[in-house]
Amino acid sequence: MFFLRIVLMALRSLRIHPLRTVLATLGVIIGVAAVVSAMSILEGTRSEVEGRFATLGSNKLFVFPGIQRDRGRAVGNVNTLKLDDADEIARACPSVASASPQVTSASLVKFLSKNTQASVLGTSETYADINHYQVAEGRFITRDDIVGEDSVVVLGWRVKRDLFGGRPALGEVIKISGLLGSRGFRVIGVMEKKGNIGWTDVDRQVVVPVTTAMKKLYGLDAVSMILCESKSAENADIEAAKSEIKKLLRQRHRVRPGQQDDFQVQAQGEFLKQFSQMQNIFAVVLYSIAGISLVVGGIGIMNIMLVAVTERTREIGVRMAMGARRADVLRQFLIEAGIVSFLGGGLGVLLGWGMAQMLEQTTRILNTSTTTQAISWALSMATITGLVSGIYPAYKASKLDPVEALRYE
């Protein structure tokens, strides 16, 4: 009850100079807005990335070609991963359930007068199973297609819709333009509607036999990635798969002991770990900036509270004459400072949320998520800032001599 009255009293004195109060809290407003928008972006990105990784499944391992280095400087990817490597990984590594080689490129695909941009994935028959990605009509590519380097294609759901609309696509021939020129592919299947797998919108993808893609479309002699699946999502199995793959590839690539791998194997968990490390660095930078503006905001609050104490010296004297103890005066100004910055924090939350929304709308890439945790954290930081900055002015007010204060003009 007593506390509530002090709060009401504080609100009443803030109403006297609304503009001045807002200007004084500008630092806190900006600080809190920075915290809230930064947290929204970090949280949004985190949940987006985690969501994408979840579509991959947690038992995935990625084998990339090594980065060629010249005196420590990366000069380009080495074409070290061969098609056979994928087969051998699947055959010789007991902890690996299956492996699928991949080459990708973006190409224009055409059917009669219609065309659309799609990503062309050259891969093996295991791809669909590893990704739990099902065929809706027709069939997926088979071992025979790969061995025969057949010009067959399985369409992503959206590519099919773009090129064929409602008409059947099976058996039709579409044109895919690669580096070696345009080539006709017979449609053998259409995939289900799926959305994203990892960062790829598979609905906008067409799948061809990896051999055909390498030799007839792009003229490649190495694959860009081998996607592997370990026996289970158990950590031990993933680690075992990783070391088996490493051992096998070093052997196959004739890497001498002491020499660096000419490839990289990364489990999905490691990607996530790297990602969250990167995020932590961003967070530290963003929070430092936010912290600095909160300190500046605190100085603003302290300044305005010192002005308020001077301006209201007489009122303090009157309150003391009416029986206010020094602690009462101290508490009054402390609470006032806390409320000013709490309200500033509220405005800051709105502003930060607005900024996050605007970023999301304008960039269309960035995902943001403003959590209640972020909001309450920001608000409590703001209030603490206000209370800390209010200590000195409130102390000064409480130490006034009642006689002097009453005499103050």
Partner: protein, 267 residues
């Protein structure tokens, strides 16, 4: 003899200003009985303001004792003094000193608030009714006239039912008609048993009390009940013969402040 509310013995207050010691009060003895209506008067620098601060427990004496309501308050600490001010003293100031943008009733409730009372509106309304302002309880000071503001201030001073009502030039910022109305309220309160101490340099105001303590240079010049003899004496001799006029804030001009002798008809 009625009960003593105030018993002051050998009270001094010295201020050190640079190398010199200013003896604002220099050995004062005063008794005030319950229900008295007392005026403390004197020229500027006579020590009457210091006297008021000490009686009002806003300050501590350098030496001497001050018993308020049987309790020695001269050695109390800040917290005890604040509690004493809250429960035993009601202040009325020349410049009203209401809290801005706060309704009359909330202003009156301020002492109740510091007394940690939970129910404040009802006693505050009662105090406002006593000064005839219940109808304007929700108005803020800026919506009230000077006289109304002073009445709110009086209501605030009496809301905790203090032992003494301490008024410092309560009519100093008011025109003579409004001033008379305020004095009428003091008379009413006095009749209902409130002990009133009026600090003023205006003889016409002082003469409305039942007893006048005149001060000069930190000492009591004389301490007499108000009777015809005193009236005649004060009206024929100027109260402040040699000293410069008292600087007075607010609308009261120096001229008005100095003419108590020119307004005897009213008394």
């Amino acid at each position: 003899m009625r009960r003593l509310v105030i018993r002051i013995r050998g009270l001094t207050k010295h201020y050190v200003m640079g190398d010199t010691v200013v003896r604002a009060l220099d050995g004062v003895d005063v008794d005030v009985e319950e229900g008295e209506f007392l005026a403390i008067t004197g020229p500027s620098g006579s020590g009457k303001s210091t006297m008021m601060h000490l009686i009002g427990c806003l300050d501590r004496p350098t030496s001497g004792t001050y018993e308020l309501d049987g309790v020695d308050v001269s050695r109390m600490d800040d917290g005890q003094l604040a509690a004493t001010r809250n429960s035993k003293i009601g202040f009325v100031f020349q410049t009203f000193n209401l809290i801005q943008r706060t309704s009359a009733v909330d202003n009156v409730a301020v002492p109740l608030f510091y007394a940690r009372r939970t129910r404040v509106r009802e006693p505050a309304m009662k105090a406002l009714a006593r000064v005839g302002l219940a109808a304007r309880c929700d108005h803020t000071p800026s919506e009230l006239s000077g006289g109304e503001r002073q009445r709110v201030a009086i209501a605030r001073a009496i809301v905790n039912e203090p032992r003494i009502l301490l008024a410092d030039e309560p009519t100093g910022n008011l025109d003579s008609k409004t001033g008379r109305q305020i004095m009428d309220i003091f008379h009413d309160l006095h009749r209902s048993g409130v002990t009133i101490i009026l600090v003023t340099h205006e003889m016409s105001v002082a003469l409305q009390a039942r007893r006048i303590v005149r001060m000069r240079d930190g000492r009591i010049l004389d301490d007499r009940p108000v009777d015809d003899a005193l009236r005649d004496e004060l009206m024929t001799t100027s109260l402040v013969p040699d000293s410069p006029p008292e600087p007075s804030p607010g609308p009261t001009s120096e001229g008005v402040a100095r003419i108590p002798v020119a307004r005897p008809v009213r008394v």
